[in-house]
């Protein structure tokens, strides 16, 4: 079993088209989709993000980081939310992605494997520290 993140990506145009759909319908479709993943025992986490215009971007292109408000500016694609699924294979993650109740021009789901502890050298000091942080977070 591995964890995969299904990353929702979209364009302004796709977002605008999506907003035309009845909100109750969107909620229902998303609710059903989430439930289907829970029923199958694969949903580990998931969050949706608020409007990109409420966000900020910290750009590292120059020597000092430059902060801009609102949408990504130059970027044509927006990151809108994610699911993390616990599945047997990448193909299964893709099958789940294909079932997402999304549509519209430029709307995409990117499927990426989440690193597990096995991907890092366990004797690295910072890897060990990170695990310490995770432990503290869980203890809260």
């Amino acid at each position: 079993m591995s964890k995969y993140m299904l990353i929702m990506r979209g364009t302004d145009e796709g977002q605008a088209a999506y907003e035309q759909i009845d909100f109750a319908k969107v909620m229902e479709d998303m609710g059903r989709y989430n439930e289907s993943m829970m029923d199958a025992g694969v949903l580990a986490a998931g969050e949706g993000l608020s409007d990109a215009s409420e966000g900020s971007v910290v750009d590292f292109s120059s020597e000092t980081p430059v902060v801009t408000d609102g949408p990504y500016g130059e970027t044509k694609e927006l990151f809108n939310g994610f699911w993390i699924v616990d599945v047997a294979s990448k193909e299964e993650a893709i099958e789940w992605a294909k079932r997402a109740p999304l549509n519209g021009p430029g709307t995409k789901l990117e499927v990426r494997r989440v690193h597990g502890p096995e991907d890092f050298p366990q004797d690295n000091e910072w890897v060990q520290k990170e695990e310490g942080w995770r432990e503290q977070q869980a203890a809260r």
């Binding site: 047997a88 099958e95 869980a138």
Partner: protein
């Protein structure tokens, strides 16, 4: 998903498989896609076919035939646009063929074949509002899917079946594993798994087991069997009884997934949540349970920073759901509560051993077993010292109920070692090593004995 399955078959035009990839990988890629679809949909497909044929064995047969057909035709013709509908339609056609073959022998089957062929008995209901295709829309009835999956789980774990058969059948029809995957997980040849499944289907038919969720009177006992099967799968994965590897985590994670499915199907059963909690809280420690060379690492030596904190969180949530049902904790819930005490403790020394002793006492009353008594003795030794625990262990030795188990001499050896009785301790640990079936664990015991 009901939406996807509702598309007419006319839409199932073959598309080129692996459009973006190279041709050489297409076969393997579409095979993996078949397996992925099967993972997600097998329980709904077999469940729907079983309900309409009212014949679990036939449903499993035709579903397997559909899967086999997909494994041949998808790599060749491309993956259908709606793979689930394709599998379901193929399974249904095979079922009708089977009924037609039998209808010469039995008028009952002739009636069924006619009904199924017309689509009359299998359409209708809320699942079919989206244009029923000639062959596709068939069996979906969204209001029945959970019942079908639950019935499937109960049938696969039916008490008339052997434990091995229950495990294989559950992984196959509910977990959606292929016989090859099950064989790999249990280190047995594929024909062995196939034979177990075939025999299980024959047994269910011979015992006239109906395809249904058991009535209230039988439900508790039948649910206990389901919980037990999921637990057995987990145990085999988390502490392999044979072979070189100490753990087979993938098998254990299959059990976690099945337990999650179960909590969704029977949300009012505290023990379903208790079992899920136990499995999550135990699996949370997997990464720390194995050393660099694959050898087991004892709880006291584990690097607790490597425990999976999100699994701990999920396990504790499941445990609070078990508590929230308000009927008290059963055997799985109590074991989960014990696992929770370990998972939240910063070290062995700082563990609330007194609480663990209490939980073991409660567990020993609701589910008495010599292994629970032995674990209680270990907890007592941690809470009150080895001298307090040794009489409990000696009592178990006297009753002789754990004869042949390596656990008893390994605990006794450990207690004697802590009491400074090295020679006796060594003898016990050496005995434990001789009795232990797992190569990795045996090594740990031998090293401990040698170090005394």
């Amino acid at each position: 998903m009901a939406r996807a399955a509702g598309r007419p078959v006319s839409e199932l035009v073959p598309e080129l498989a692996g459009q973006a990839g190279g041709r050489a990988d297409d076969g393997a890629a579409s095979r993996r896609t078949v397996e992925a679809v099967w993972r997600i949909e097998s329980s709904r497909i077999v469940g729907a076919l079983a309900r309409y044929t009212n014949d679990f064995a036939l449903a499993e047969d035709v579903a397997s035939e559909a899967l086999a057909e997909a494994l041949v035709s998808w790599p060749r013709d491309g993956i259908p646009r709606d793979p689930t509908a394709w599998l379901l339609a193929t399974g249904r056609r095979r079922a009708i063929d089977a009924f037609r073959r039998r209808s010469g022998r039995d008028e009952r089957y002739a009636v069924l074949a006619r009904d199924l062929g017309d689509g009359g008995a299998v359409t209708g209901g809320p699942g079919t509002q989206r244009e029923p295709g000639p062959d596709a829309d068939l069996l979906w009835d969204p209001d029945r899917i959970d019942d079908d999956r639950l019935a499937l789980l109960f049938v696969a774990c039916h008490p008339v079946l052997s434990k091995e058969a229950r495990v294989a059948l559950t992984l196959r029809v509910v977990g959606g594993l292929t016989s090859e995957e099950i064989a790999r997980a249990f280190l047995v040849p594929v024909p062995t798994v196939q034979a177990r499944i075939t025999r299980a289907k024959k047994t269910l038919a011979a015992a006239r087991v109906p395809f249904e969720v058991p009535a209230a009177a039988d439900r508790t006992a039948r649910l206990a069997s389901v919980l037990n099967v999921v637990y057995l799968i987990f145990s085999e994965g988390s502490s392999a009884s044979a072979g070189e590897d100490w753990m087979r985590p993938d098998l254990a994670y299959e059990a976690v997934r099945l337990a999650r499915v179960l909590t969704r199907l029977v949300p009012d059963e505290p023990e379903a949540h208790g079992l899920l909690a136990l499995l999550e809280l135990t699996a949370a420690r997997f990464a720390a349970r194995t050393g660099p060379d694959g050898e087991p690492v004892l709880l006291e030596d584990q690097d607790r920073r490597r425990w999976d904190t999100s699994a701990i969180r999920r396990g504790r949530e499941a445990l609070s759901r078990a508590v929230a049902v308000g009927r008290g904790l059963g055997p799985y819930g109590l074991q989960a509560a014990i696992a929770e005490q370990h998972d939240v403790a910063p070290s062995v020394a700082a563990t609330d051993w007194e609480r663990i002793v209490l939980l073991y006492e409660a567990l020993g009353r609701v589910a008495p077993s010599p292994v629970v008594e032995l674990n209680r003795a270990v907890a007592v030794s941690m809470a009150a010292g080895p001298a307090a625990a040794l009489p409990l262990v000696d009592e178990l030795v006297a009753t002789d109920v754990l004869r042949g188990s390596y656990l008893l001499p390994s605990v006794r050896g450990e207690l004697l070692a802590r009491l400074g009785r090295a020679a006796e301790a060594r003898a016990e640990l050496e005995l434990a090593a001789r009795l232990c079936g797992n190569v990795r664990e045996r090594g740990v015991l031998e090293r401990k004995a040698a170090a005394l």
